[in-house]
Amino acid sequence: MNTYSDQLASKEELRRISRARRRAQFMRRLPGDIVKLAIVILFVFPFYWMISTAFKSYIESIQTPPTLWPHTFTLENFSAIGEMNIDLPMYFKNSVIITATTIVLQLLIMIPAAYAFAKRDFPFKGVLFGVVLLAFMIPGQLTYISIYLMMAKAKLLQTLWPQILPFGANAFGIFMLRQSFKQIPEEILESARLDSASEFQIIMRIMLPMSKSAMITIAMFSFISIWNNYFWPLVMTTNEAVRPLTMAIQKLRDSGDNAIRWNVLMAGNVILVAPVLVIYMFASKKILKAFAYNGLK
């Protein structure tokens, strides 16, 4: 028969074993955690650097060794941007219109295309899908001259359309959404058809709700790539009135002959990146889910 002190001893023993297990587990995970932490720092540090530099004076932003945190915290860099000869609201408005319209256009084209490639049979389906993948691989630098000439012929160069129409068909989005649609069991679609659902209803009521994560991910990627696009607006526009925010940030970069004002430039980048970060914060869970669901994680 156990005495009270025996019971205490065995409890103490259990605690000791548990502690030893936890320690062993901790030690086992430690190298992996260190690597993960290093990767997180690697990715987060540039953002941290951008934000901290945005609040430094010019001299502090260029001094060596650099300061990790602003010694003299200032908001002057943001007010300096406001005082420059740059119509920031106009560029911002253009960026919003270009990005929103392109994403809407992409969704309108991408959803039916992905549905057809995933769930319908038609002649030359494989070849046509190959064409989509080909479009995915051709960089804009190869196509911009012919597109520029097309847009000039259509008298669209003085509008926002040259920055929207060429991106209307998102090859990567079609590919990714097709993969997501393919994972939806055929039986669900068959039972919907038995209930007299049209193809449109199947897309709207079954495919899209079940692929919400993939949709948000694609939209997010599109948003980032269109919002941050610099090359395309530079070569495709000849009028400041139709240029996006990235072109305004470029003006901050060359704020002196050979002397980049890093603090002002980083303040501009904070303005540029802020919408992306805000949207990412709302969409991050869906993005992770989409990659997990598609087996890409």
Binding site: I62, N94, T159, N239, E240, K251, G256, D257
Partner: protein, 432 residues
Amino acid sequence: MKKLLSMLLVLALAMSLCTVASAEEEKTIVTFWHHASGGALYDVVKDSVDTFNATIGAEKGIEVQETYVGSYHDILSKVQLSVTSGDQPTVAVSGLFQIAPQVEDGILADLRPFCEADGFDLSNFLDCFQEVYEADDGRVWAFPYVRSTPLFFYNKTLADEKGLTAPTTIEEMEEFCKAFYTVDENGNTLVYGLEIPSQSFTYGTVSPAQLGSSYISADRKSSPCLEDGTLLKIFSDYRRWVDEGWCKPYDAQGGSAMMERLFTGKLGAILNSSGGLISIETGMKEGGYEMGVAPFPYYAEGKPFVSIGGGSISLIAEGNSEEEQQAGWEFIKFLMSDEMIYRNSVGTGYIPFTKSVAEYEPMIEYWEEHPYARVAYDQMEYGEAQEKGVIPQMTEYMNAGFEALDLLIQAQTITAEEAIEMMKTTTAEYFE
């Protein structure tokens, strides 16, 4: 409600798209393509455009719309592309070697008839710009616009502390810069004496003409400086300065890191374009130092000589109506006024390139208050425009020099002799 909101959103987007480039009123639009992406130069460009639109433009029904297009090379490519698409500018800035291809393509308008009609005096341009813009047949394809010249900038505060006087010759410059050079007990450099921003700058400015030679011979059939040892001397000296430690080789980051060293007292002097004068003055002031400016040094055994770089401005004929060309000319003429040249120079440091501006009252007053701002203008007396005496493959010829300098100064994998041999081999075909 959701549907209503969606419809409103779509409607708003559609309306925005339609109205972004709304039809202009009954005005002649002058599209002005330039390379000023930001900073002091962009402020000057914007100021010129706004002032023109508010004055002459308003009076004559002309509106200038400025657009940053990219580097000089980007502007050339885009102008050539735009004339085929019919979306060409009316007025464009061009680099030194970008005028000739546009003349060959028949893109540019001859400015002489406009000058004659308006009594515009071409001889008012400084002597160093005479014969540069006029073709042999008398046609005028461009005007000077953002012309710059290399200057010797230094940290006057540190120089005064050391009792140094600004140098005039290359030999004096060596001694002057060596005086700044400081290393710690471990041999790490604390303060460099001199830095030159890039291979292009070195190559374009430290000219063999100071030693009586030239890059291209008068008959365009040879490159004398590669044969007579003058470029070898220039390259050897530069490498020696770097080897001695007091001269920092240019780095891959371009001139930005160099400026940062100058502004924070880690560098004594630089050779840089006059176009950066205002930025340098501002940066040094923020760093707590006073800027000193001296004329570009020359070899004592040679003669004072300085090259003139920068950009020009042209009127595009191809695709533009006579009315548009006339409107473009009005804008160019406006930029050539004493007031605008003065504002351009004061705002950036670019050369005020006319004779009359030296008698313009605000310019005189500015020079009196800021004597260093006059250095660039004064050294035009012995300046020569870089586009004088060039061959059609001048860009390729220059690139051969850049590559050689990269290996000599940055990578330090070849000697000065090998750099010259490399250039000879690469450029031989241009003189066959």
